[in-house]
Amino acid sequence: MISGAEIMVKCLEAEGVSVVFGYPGAAICPFYDKIYDSDIKHILVRQEQNAAHAASGYARCSGKPGVCVATSGPGATNLITGIATAYTDSIPMVAITGQVRSDLLGRDVFQEADITGACEPFVKHSYLVSKTEDLPRVFKEAFHIASTGRQGPVLIDIPMDIQTNEIEEFVYPDSVNIIGYKPNTKGHAIQVKRAIDAIKLSKRPLIVSGGGVLSSGVKLQFQDFALKTRIPVISTMMGIGVMPSENELYLGMLGTHGKAVANRALHEADLVIVCGARLGDRAVAAPHQMSENTTVIHIDIDPAEIGKNVKTEIPIVGDMRNVLDMLVENIGDYTVPEQWQETVKTWKKDLFKTPPVFDGYVEPRTLVGHLSAMFRSKAILVADVGQNQIWCANNFRIREGRFLTTGGMGTMGYSIPAAVGAKFARPDRDVIAICGDGSFQMGMNELATIAGNKLNIKIIIMRNSRLGMVRELQDKNYNGRHSATILQGDPDFLTIAEAYGIDCAEASSNEDAENIIKGIVDSDKPFILVCNVYPDTPSI
């Protein structure tokens, strides 16, 4: 005989899961009792939301679904923000929650919360398991759904009795059969042909790349396509990293917080190839940013994204990998007209400008710009939310590494837990988290996770003693009335770091900051650098 809890662990093992992030409680205790004996590493976070963010960071760097676990009621509701963040960022994730006994469901007993109901708008799919026998199928389906098609979080809610009941034997299914779920992966040949014809006719083609290129794991193929055709590339926030920032074809991030040259390119292009991006309002604030006569080719695994935000002439539903293969195969030796190549070259010169320095402060954009060269080329940078995110997005010169941030939900507090997840996925790489002083205080409870697991994560806090991004908005739209955006009563972050036993330092000039960083890049210990930033430093 085998219990539901044991089955849960065996399912995770069968899926090749090696680490899960979670926080226990009574309703998930049977599972915790069994994972105690397993080789699967359980990482105890300090707040459930961070278990989901850590699973997100892990998923993005490992290419496998991240797994997070919480108890019923408040544990489960604490997960919601993390699940919603993963949903809008299309991150493959399996979230497991304990639930009260199934015979008590609906009676509002202690720590009962309808978590499948509450998460309904934020999950790709969810299960409330009603029989122990169903567990293997549910897990198999959950991992399949989370990691195929447009990826996303799947929630499995498991009542106590389902975890404790025993059944005869454990058999893990080797395939799934969900009649309503058959994601289309192969691009339509006729649409691909139309796209090729349109590209060949265009005078000023442009690629807009989103997170889809990264999540389908085809960065290098994508670069080959761009380099071969010489089509210039701009990216959304989630797409940063598809090309090395210094590459001559790459013109930066588009959108309200993006690079002027990227937006200019979008405006002047006569053909735009959108690759795995949904083009939300931050990317293309107003569709009129694109010229009336621009031909749009949109490649996406999710048919619902095509035509949702921009008018599309040539839709191609399919996996980036397949579609790119088809494009490369059929494009022949086409290259972009000389004149457009020349224009792009002159624009590229304008991409990185040196911002003015304020005496006695660190200039954050310059610091971020120099950061990549100080770390190894595959470094993973996790940016939080606020001005710090924009500084990172526009100035980090990514090489072969990754840039992680939450583009869809913009959840403050993402960077530190996501860096924890990234480090578990890629212990061999440098992992850097950059956050604001506001967002640091939303994620800093994970300093304990970092210290406890001796994780080599370097944290840079951009301290402007403000909720800088909102304050900037108030300056622009609310007559400079700084309602609730001045951070009063903040602690000394160095003392906080020391309390956790984490080495730290403070910098008030770029020279200081860079010297400190140079001194710690080779250490295998975590470090916190507090950079004093002039409060009026603009986002862009």
Binding site: T116, G117, E120, P121, K124, H125, S126, L128, S130, I145, I178, I179, G180, Y181, D302, P303, A304, G307, K308
Partner: protein, 163 residues
């Protein structure tokens, strides 16, 4: 523009709330909704009548298709399908008016299913337009209560929406 969607779903817990939630979340209004089993065990059909422009309907179809328990979504083409609603109407009926009301029901091919001292109950199964016509005809007598199902619809001819 009014349109009718015929949706086949796996009959599992929560599927109806997933679908209705999708409508309300994205600000799409539903005019009517009807659910019933089909000839395939485990598969139910949901018929939805709603309003919206072409963009809205296309988005809806795509978003519905994304729901895992949704097997198939089809927008039924105008005039190429048969639709029915069932309505039960309780109408005020003074003795003097009884013959008149019965006559109206007869003309519309509706059935009187219950008679009491001061009212009659009429059953009618027709497309929404004709149901509305009957209601209009009966209004002058005083309607006490209306009980109405959502629209169900099926393709004309050999076309079908099945698994």
């Amino acid at each position: 523009m009014q349109y009718t969607l015929s949706i086949l779903v796996e009959n599992q817990a929560g599927v109806l709330s997933k679908i209705s939630g999708l409508f309300s979340r994205r600000g799409f209004n539903i005019d009517s909704l009807a659910v019933g089993v089909t000839n395939t065990p485990g598969v139910s059909r949901i018929t939805i009548v709603a309003n919206g422009d072409e963009y809205v309907v296309e988005q809806l179809e795509k978003q519905l298709n994304k729901l895992i328990p949704v097997i198939k979504v089809k927008r039924l083409n105008n005039d190429e399908f048969i639709s029915r609603e069932l309505i039960l109407i309780k109408v005020h009926c003074a003795a003097a008016k009884r013959a008149e009301i019965i006559k109206t029901a007869e003309i519309m091919q509706a059935k009187i299913v219950d008679v009491a001292s001061s009212c009659v109950t009429i059953e009618y199964c027709e497309c929404a337009n004709r149901v509305n016509t009957l209601i209009d005809l009966l209004k002058p007598y005083g309607i006490r209560e209306i009980v109405r199902t959502g629209t169900v619809a099926i393709d004309r001819g050999t076309a079908s929406v099945s698994v």
